[in-house]
């Protein structure tokens, strides 16, 4: 089974302010970009992160071979229940997702 990390150059996640997280998949090439765009639905991303699909902003950016997702943090940055101050750990979870 192919995972996103097997064909993408880099997946990173970071806060976009204290209330949002943003994840960038740097696909690195047009074929990898096409494959990821085709086989990674926003529904699957929502299910992976257990958030509502309508809260996810998705950007497929062919000029950069990048797929980007932004969504509200499930816990506000630094809240008692927050586990990840900089929003670093969403990236490896997505990178390990099997592509259909």
């Amino acid at each position: 089974m192919t995972q996103i990390r097997d064909i993408a150059v880099k997946v990173r996640s970071k806060n976009a302010g204290p209330f949002w997280v943003t994840i960038d998949i740097f696909c690195g090439s047009e074929p990898a970009f096409d494959q990821i765009v085709k086989s990674l639905s926003t529904d699957r991303v929502a299910s992976l992160f257990q958030c509502e699909v309508k809260t996810i902003k998705r950007f497929d950016i062919p000029s950069l071979n990048v797929v980007k997702f932004s969504f509200p943090r499930p816990h506000i940055q630094g809240a008692v229940s927050d586990r990840d101050m900089h929003g670093a750990a969403w990236a490896p979870l997505l990178a390990e997702l099997d592509l259909n």
């Binding site: 992976l48 990840d84 670093a88």
Partner: protein, 449 residues
């Protein structure tokens, strides 16, 4: 043309001194550096303190003050001391005066303070001039009044006002990362589209180039566009590194909201001038009808004590979740009884390091581990209570058996005392904008004598 030099993404991260000297030799109109952001969490704004050591801040700031003296241009810092509170502006002023004295230099200093009295914000709430941004929490006058610090993010108007005083060094409280860079080109009459876009690309220094830790870049602004030049040996900007920087810490890679309008880079063109420099054109600025500034506020969310325990016994590693659940239930009962509390008065979390401490319920990977760490986090209304709850947790984490049938186990505490008091913890409570009739209404500009 207006040339702005950006030494690095933040004061405290370090910069390449040779690259800085090369930049100054080229001739620059402004040196601009960011001093912080919310990215390190709410404690810094909550307490009004810097995340960086004073010694690092002083050393790096001194290098920039000396570079400024050589260049004969203004030096501006935004979001002084990580959070941009008034206390941090005063802190950096003190460091600046120390440096000037030690170096036998003189300079005219102006400050822009961004801190907001709670009354201004609660009045604005009543007047209906505060709006929630997407994913903002609910707010009320009580929440606003409970904040230990509230800051508003200054834009180019406040920085321009400071530049117009003829100050050599401008120390600003909270500003947008971009405003300190965009203010001068816009003041010089340059089209705000390229000015804001170049500022956004440049705000993290060489993060928009290869070798991002080298820091120093220049942005040359003109009416049609801007040119990015990284100055460290071996650092190159390419259309890819430059355009990709719009992705960084932005929910939308094409639109950027700022006080007074928004930037749209959907149709921007990125062109390599050579193997180091990139030229960008086609960025558009859309002014808004109302002038708004974003607010940030932090308040105390409780007091914490933590304990870390390491579990190496394979039987317990295999059953760690059950062990934790059992401890939580037994400890809660005991804490309520002995400290006369109800379960709503405090929270105890046991995060299993090695299993799902970073991602919690959404973790998808399972693996066999040699050991796990258990991070116990106790949160209560005051430190004494949090500490006492943690003390009641201590014997469980040290000796709790999975069943009554087994011998009493002992687990590894790395520290004595095992409990660590964390003091007050803070939370961000504002993700809102406030309308201002005049951009200076919520900011205080002072030229120091």
């Amino acid at each position: 043309m207006t040339r702005v030099l950006i030494p690095s993404g933040a004061l405290g991260l370090g910069y390449d001194a040779d690259a800085l000297a090369r930049g100054i030799a080229l001739g620059v109109d402004l040196i601009a550096i960011d001093g912080g952001s919310t990215d390190s969490g709410p404690s810094y704004l909550g307490r009004g303190v810097s995340k960086y050591a004073r010694a690092s801040t002083k050393l790096e700031w001194q290098g920039l003050i000396l570079a400024r003296a050589k260049a004969g241009c203004p030096l501006v810092i935004g979001t002084a001391g990580t959070c941009g509170s008034d206390s941090m502006v005063d802190w950096l002023v003190e460091i600046t005066q120390e440096i000037l004295k030690e170096q036998g230099l003189s300079a005219k200093i102006a400050t822009v303070k961004s801190e907001q009295p709670a009354l201004r914000v609660t009045d604005a709430l009543v007047a209906g001039t505060i709006s929630a941004l997407p994913a903002a929490p609910e707010i009320s006058a009580d929440i606003v009044n409970g904040c230990s610090h509230i800051v508003a993010l200054a834009g180019i108007e406040q920085i321009s006002a400071a530049l117009q005083t003829g100050a050599d060094i401008i120390i600003a409280g909270r500003t947008t990362d971009t405003a300190i860079i965009a203010a001068l080109p816009i003041m010089n009459g340059i089209n705000p589209g390229p000015a804001w876009h170049g500022a956004k690309i440049g705000e993290c220094g060489a993060l928009c180039a290869t070798n991002p830790q080298s820091g120093v870049i220049t942005v040359d602004f003109d009416n049609d566009g801007f040119t990015i030049t990284p100055l460290a040996e071996g650092a190159h900007a390419t259309p890819h590194t430059v355009s990709a920087h719009m992705l960084y810490e932005n929910t939308d890679p094409f639109i950027l909201y700022e006080p007074g309008g928004h930037l749209d880079v959907t149709d921007a063109q990125y062109t390599a001038l050579d193997d180091t420099r990139v030229r960008v054109t086609g960025s558009i600025w859309h002014p808004s009808t109302r002038y708004t500034v974003k607010l940030e506020g932090a308040r105390v969310a409780g007091y914490q004590s933590i304990i870390m325990v390491l579990v190496r016994d394979a039987h317990y590693v295999e059953n760690i979740q059950k062990w934790c659940d059992d401890i939580i239930a037994k400890h809660c009962e005991k804490a309520c009884a002995r400290l006369t509390l109800t379960p709503d008065d405090f929270s105890v979390e046991l995060r299993i390091i090695g299993q799902n401490a970073t991602l919690g319920e959404i973790e998808t990977r399972e693996s066999t581990l040699a050991e796990v760490g258990v991070l116990a986090i106790v949160t209560a209304a005051d430190q004494e209570t949090a500490g006492n709850i943690a003390k009641l947790l201590n014997p469980y984490l040290l000796h709790h058996p999975l069943t009554q049938l087994e011998e009493q186990p002992t687990f590894a505490f790395p520290f004595s005392p095992a409990e660590i008091d964390r003091g007050a913890i803070y939370e961000f409570v504002l993700n809102h904008v406030m309308v201002l009739d005049d951009p200076m209404d919520a900011f205080v500009l002072t030229v120091l004598p």
